[in-house]
């Protein structure tokens, strides 16, 4: 075991997979000589050359489409979105063509990984704070993953690169310097399994990405106050791991969703629908959502904090839900 920063865990995942398979390559803005804006690909172009770690012009829709064409003809491109929000410019290529395995009747597969920093950072303004996971969840044929720790970042990214289908892989701009001991050797984590971060019996808290850490901050005082919440990190935003989610609900009968995407048509909205369809009889009360406000993320730090969910809100909501047996 060695202590590793999250961005280095991601780099190790890419490095190992590139070493295993010469058709694996990286493309994106400043991924090569510059080493990636969060240094995830630092040093890789020296090791593998400019063609396998390809610096692209700033043309998101076109280089994403290029990755689709390269994937159809046998390569396994990893696209780095310098900021995942920029992929709004690539929405057509992802929404129309990353899924063309179906349209083509199985003629072509599209083994691409689209990865990069998502989430709300520190006063980056509205455009750099887009959360696209919810926008993309309606696209059929995509798998959507959100990592949250150095351990799962590495294991999930390696599996995403190996997966023969298109995978959107969300990192979080504020988690790159997270430190954790991870195994020295290679390992793979399943793309469709949630992680029970903390077992408990009072309430199921479903969360992902950076909000996992806000939830864990909230759990501390809650446990001291005698509450026993169960925390589940979804990891897979599409498909949801309904087995793990269902097993937890059958135990706690109460669900709180804590998410960083916006409330309207967010990940939580789809989760509530799935829970309602599958586990309605197990619920003692309505599923509760703590989401970001439905506004463009403001620049001002205080306003920004009001926009995303804070640990104190989670504490208060769990107290209320358990006390009132909501």
């Amino acid at each position: 075991m060695a202590e590793v920063l999250l961005f280095n865990a991601l780099r190790a995942a890419i490095d190992e997979e590139m070493a295993h398979d010469p058709t694996v390559m990286v493309m994106g803005e400043d991924v090569g000589h510059y080493g990636g804006s969060y240094k995830v690909t630092k040093g890789l172009c020296k090791k593998y050359g400019d063609f396998r770690v390809l610096d692209t012009p700033i043309a998101e829709n076109s280089f994403t489409g290029m990755a689709v064409g390269a994937a159809m003809t046998g390569l396994k491109p990893i696209i780095e979105g310098m900021n995942m929000g920029f992929l709004l410019l690539a929405f057509n290529q992802i929404a129309n063509n990353a899924m063309l395995r179906y349209t083509s009747g199985g003629n072509f597969s599209v083994p691409i990984v689209v990865r990069g920093p998502g989430g709300v950072g520190k006063q980056l303004g509205a455009e750099h704070s887009q959360r696209l996971e919810a926008y993309f969840q309606a696209v059929p044929g995509l798998k959507i993953v959100a990592c949250s720790t150095p351990y799962n970042a590495k294991g999930l990214l390696k599996s995403a690169i190996r997966d023969p289908n298109p995978v959107l892989f969300f990192e979080h701009v504020l988690l790159y310097n997270l430190k954790e001991e991870i195994p020295d050797g290679e390992y793979y984590l399943p793309l469709d399994k949630a992680e029970v971060v903390r077992p408990g019996k009072d309430v199921t808290i479903l969360t992902y990405s950076r909000m996992r850490h806000h939830v864990l901050q909230a759990v501390k005082p809650l446990v001291e106050q005698g509450f026993d919440p169960e925390v589940i990190d979804l990891l897979s935003l599409k498909p949801f791991d309904l087995e793990t989610i269902g097993a937890s609900i059958k135990k706690t009968h109460r669900v709180l969703i804590v998410e960083e995407c916006m409330k309207t048509a967010g990940i939580g909205a789809e989760l509530i629908a799935s829970i309602s369809e599958n586990f309605f009889d197990e619920l003692d009360g309505p599923v509760v959502r703590l989401s970001s406000q439905d506004i463009p993320t403001p620049y001002n730090g205080a306003l920004e904090n009001l926009t995303i969910v804070q640990p104190a809100q989670i504490v208060a909501m769990v107290q209320q839900m358990v006390a009132q047996k909501v």
């Binding site: 050359g49 012009p57 829709n61 076109s62 280089f63 159809m72 349209t103 072509f108």
Partner: protein
């Protein structure tokens, strides 16, 4: 009389074509025309649905370019893709069955008229949004170069032909991809089929500079214009561009001046194109022109060409019969092909 662009003289010496190749190209053009006429008939008889965009009039471009390529080269098309698929070697019965929505179609009934695919024939699709196929084609060309440069595979000399229309040449993906293709010297032919009209938008009303081939110069790329009604002229510029691409000398932008003999799609009332413009182009039918060439060059006799027409008519009739008799996709397989299955690559 409508002002037409003065058609370019062929700057390279007229190419010779063998009798065998000439008849193959002719057969391909006749197949394209006969197939599309049959599609119109089948559409109006309610046998195929959705938007169907026919290629009549533009055959010299598809046959001239694709028949100058190898079978392991790549072809990428648009929503007007039936004839590109046929030139690329996809059997007519598979294309017709796809248009009928049948399980035996080249896209298993999932794609339809605008989404023809065949991995066996390196047909990368059928892309229905204008210009979105250009980046995909670029990716195939990148892949060939990647194999050569990064994987050291000297046999990876495949060339990609990317077809699109004048409308696409005003889209950002066109410019972005020209830039990347020139930057990395990718083995690709950008073939603009300038048929003068993007549905009802006349090319001259949509672009600040109508000579599309000249836009290549902004990227330091070779750009050529060619009479898209003359299959031998198209073949000549295609051969040169293919040779350049295969030699690792990079991309070419080919602007073929052509015309569609029918509306944008079978749903288009085609009210905007002037009568005299249409008649002018109808008089330059590329198939009739090539027939005259073959006879004049003593490469074929009229009767032989008639035989080919009869043979192709039988092939197309057989394709319809095959499509009619083919089963619909199995409803239990509605979800099939979303994700890869065991045994897929």
């Amino acid at each position: 009389m409508v002002q037409e662009r003065i058609l370019p003289k062929l700057s390279i010496p007229p190419v010779q074509i063998s009798r065998e190749d000439g008849l193959k190209v002719y057969e391909d053009m006749v197949l394209g025309r006969t197939f599309e006429d049959k599609c119109a008939e089948m559409y109006y008889r309610g046998r195929m649905f959705g938007f169907v965009h026919l290629y009549n009039g533009q055959e010299a471009v598809s046959s001239g370019v694709i028949r100058a390529m190898r079978s392991d080269d790549y072809v990428c098309s648009t929503y007007r893709d039936h004839v590109h698929a046929l030139s690329a070697g996809v059997p007519p019965r598979q294309v017709m069955a796809e248009l009928f929505g049948k399980a035996t179609g080249c896209s298993k009934g999932r794609g339809g008229s605008m989404h023809l695919f065949s991995s066996e024939h390196n047909l990368l699709g059928g892309f229905a949004f204008v210009a979105e196929g250009i980046p995909v084609a670029l990716g195939a060309a990148f892949q060939s170069k990647y194999r050569r440069v990064a994987l050291g595979d000297d046999t990876a000399d495949q060339v990609t032909a990317c077809f699109f229309g004048d409308g696409a040449s005003n889209n950002g993906q066109f410019f972005e991809c020209l830039n990347m293709a020139a930057l990395w010297k990718l083995p690709i032919l950008f073939v603009v089929e300038n048929n003068k009209w993007a549905i009802g938008m006349a090319h001259d009303r949509a672009t600040s500079h109508p000579e599309i081939y000249r836009k290549a110069s902004a990227f330091g790329m070779v750009g050529v214009e060619v009479d898209g009604m003359d299959v031998m002229a198209v073949r000549a510029v295609a051969q040169e561009a293919v040779a350049r691409a295969r030699a690792g000398e990079g991309p070419t932008l080919i602007e073929a001046l052509t015309y569609r003999f029918r509306g944008h799609s079978l749903a288009d009332p085609d009210e905007l194109r002037p009568k005299d413009e249409k008649e002018n182009w109808f008089s330059r039918d590329p198939i009739k022109g090539f027939e005259a060439y073959l006879i004049e060059q003593n490469l074929a006799k009229t009767e032989e060409l008639k035989d080919i027409q009869r043979k192709i008519q039988a092939t197309v009739d057989e394709a319809v019969e095959f499509a009619e008799q083919s089963p619909d996709p199995d409803p239990s397989e509605l979800y099939r092909y979303i994700f890869t299955e065991e045994g897929d690559r």
